[in-house]
């Protein structure tokens, strides 16, 4: 007989593999939201997502201004791809976006990581990506707990009510 029971979400593992503002913040907002709800949370950064936990890049993330049909100019006008390719445009748009987020009281990446860790969340970096990009533990923000393998990651996924979310 089929059981129609509801299982409470107890643990989430969030994997962030991209380094744009929107991809990183998707992982951070979901991670912070999890600890706020009392859900155990582990965040795993890999590939270009490593930019979000590297001290020198974490607070200067960009959004892509080319090839993004949802990108709009002020006044909700379409944002042409050719415009996004002009030097300086991506940096300017990214800066504007970060300023808008600050207005909504959305913290910088380093502050966000601190809030997540304060709530009991854990931040990890991918060993393969670290090796590939030549990144060492000291290059990463102090709140990054360890550089781990994919096997270590799966070992943390035990227990009922666990979900892995890839952003």
């Amino acid at each position: 007989m089929e059981k129609d029971e509801k299982y409470k979400l107890k643990k989430v593992l969030l994997i962030c593999s991209k380094g744009t503002i929107e991809d990183v913040y998707a992982a951070l907002v979901m991670g912070n939201g999890a600890v706020m709800e009392g859900i155990e949370c582990k965040l795993f950064f890999t590939f270009f997502g490593m930019d979000a936990i590297k001290k020198d890049t974490m607070n200067h993330l960009h959004t892509s201004t080319v090839g993004n049909p949802a990108m709009k100019m002020p006044g909700n006008l379409p944002f042409p791809t050719w415009l996004g390719g002009i030097p300086g445009i991506e940096a300017g748009v990214s800066k504007m976006m970060r300023a808008e987020m600050e207005k909504l009281d959305i913290p910088n990446v380093d502050e966000f990581l601190e809030l997540i860790v304060a709530g009991g969340g854990e931040i990890y970096a991918c060993k393969l990506a670290a090796d590939m990009f030549g990144i060492k533990k000291e290059d990463l923000h102090d709140d990054v707990k360890a550089i781990i393998t994919v096997g270590d990651l799966y070992a943390m996924c035990d227990g009922p009510g666990t979900q892995i979310i890839f952003t």
Partner: protein, 103 residues
């Protein structure tokens, strides 16, 4: 809408247990709600509850970041003092509406 009795006071609450009339709140009511939430209130807790009530009264949105910067308590202590879901628990005990905040 439902009514619950805390410390001999009838208070209006939502289905989730958040008070809808902040003026019905007093410290004894807070103690009673806290007991239900498995939180033992100290002086420090009341400082936080005051901060929350003032913030909400001023129309501001409550966030963990705001609490961290409040000067009353930092985020880590806040998580320890209201274990589980701190923003939800603390607002419930403070007798204010459930916060509509993603951060």
């Amino acid at each position: 809408m439902a009514t619950k009795t805390f410390a001999g006071v009838n208070v209006d609450v939502t289905e989730e247990g958040y008070m809808t009339d902040s003026s019905q709140w007093n410290k004894d009511v807070a103690e009673a709600i806290a007991t239900e939430q498995d939180v033992e209130l100290t002086e420090k807790h009341f400082e936080i509850l005051d901060y929350i009530r003032n913030k909400v009264a001023s129309g501001a949105t409550l966030t963990i970041r705001g609490i961290n910067k409040s000067g009353v308590v930092n985020a880590k202590e806040f998580y320890q003092m209201f274990p589980g879901a701190p923003l939800k628990k603390s607002t419930m005990i403070a007798g204010v509406p459930k916060p509509e905040s993603c951060i």
